[in-house]
């Protein structure tokens, strides 16, 4: 891992509420995984596979509206988390944040 990647990863994981950072290749296989909640590699892999499936479904909805268009980013809010997914052709970056952590911290 280059020091550039290391530095950015450190910055991301330090953001308030960030719990998990996952990067996968296009076969949805784990390339990188860091967690503040001790999520196992196995759980991270399962999670990543689910999100990869959701990504391709989101992509088809976008293209269905406009075939020239393409998915660039999506975020899912739930009561306790925000899941962020930044998909590219060959890799996907996924981050799980607990946004209310920033409220509690104040």
């Amino acid at each position: 891992m280059s020091s550039e990647v290391e530095e950015t990863m450190r910055r991301i994981i330090k953001h308030v509420g960030v719990q998990d950072v996952i990067i996968t290749n296009k076969e949805a296989k784990l390339i990188y995984h860091d967690s503040k909640t001790s999520m196992s590699a196995k759980d991270a892999q399962k999670y990543a596979s689910n999100l990869t499936q959701l990504t391709s479904q989101a992509r088809s909805v976008v293209r269905d509206l406009d075939p020239q268009n393409d998915l660039s980013f999506f975020r899912i809010r739930s009561k306790n988390h925000e899941i962020m997914v930044a998909p590219d052709k060959d890799f996907t970056l996924m981050v799980v944040q607990n946004p209310s952590a920033s409220e509690d911290g104040k």
Binding site: M1, S2, E4, V5, T8, R11, I12, H15, V16, G17, V18, I23, N25, K29, L30, I31, Y32, A41, K42, Q45, S72, F73, R75, R77, E82, M84, A86, D88, D90, F91, T92, L93, V95, Q97, P99, S100, S102, E103
Partner: protein
């Protein structure tokens, strides 16, 4: 046994490290991490789904602060 089967599916560490050093990966990482960091920053400043039912007062303060 299940755990072993899972480990066998994982990309070898050396391979993962190799991928993360490619220019192709770095291009992806630079742009995707920027988007994510901006979204994280946005969430820190303002939670669009703050539970208005329970925290109405808090919300209003925040909303005013934002305008």
């Amino acid at each position: 046994a299940e755990e072993k089967a899972f480990q066998a599916q994982l990309l070898p560490l050396a391979e993962r490290k190799r991928i993360m050093r490619t220019e192709h990966f770095l291009d992806f990482f630079r742009s995707s991490s920027k988007v994510v960091e901006r979204a994280l920053k946005q969430n820190e400043e303002f939670d669009v789904t703050i539970d208005y039912a329970k925290k109405d007062d808090m919300m209003d303060e925040k909303e005013e602060a934002m305008v």
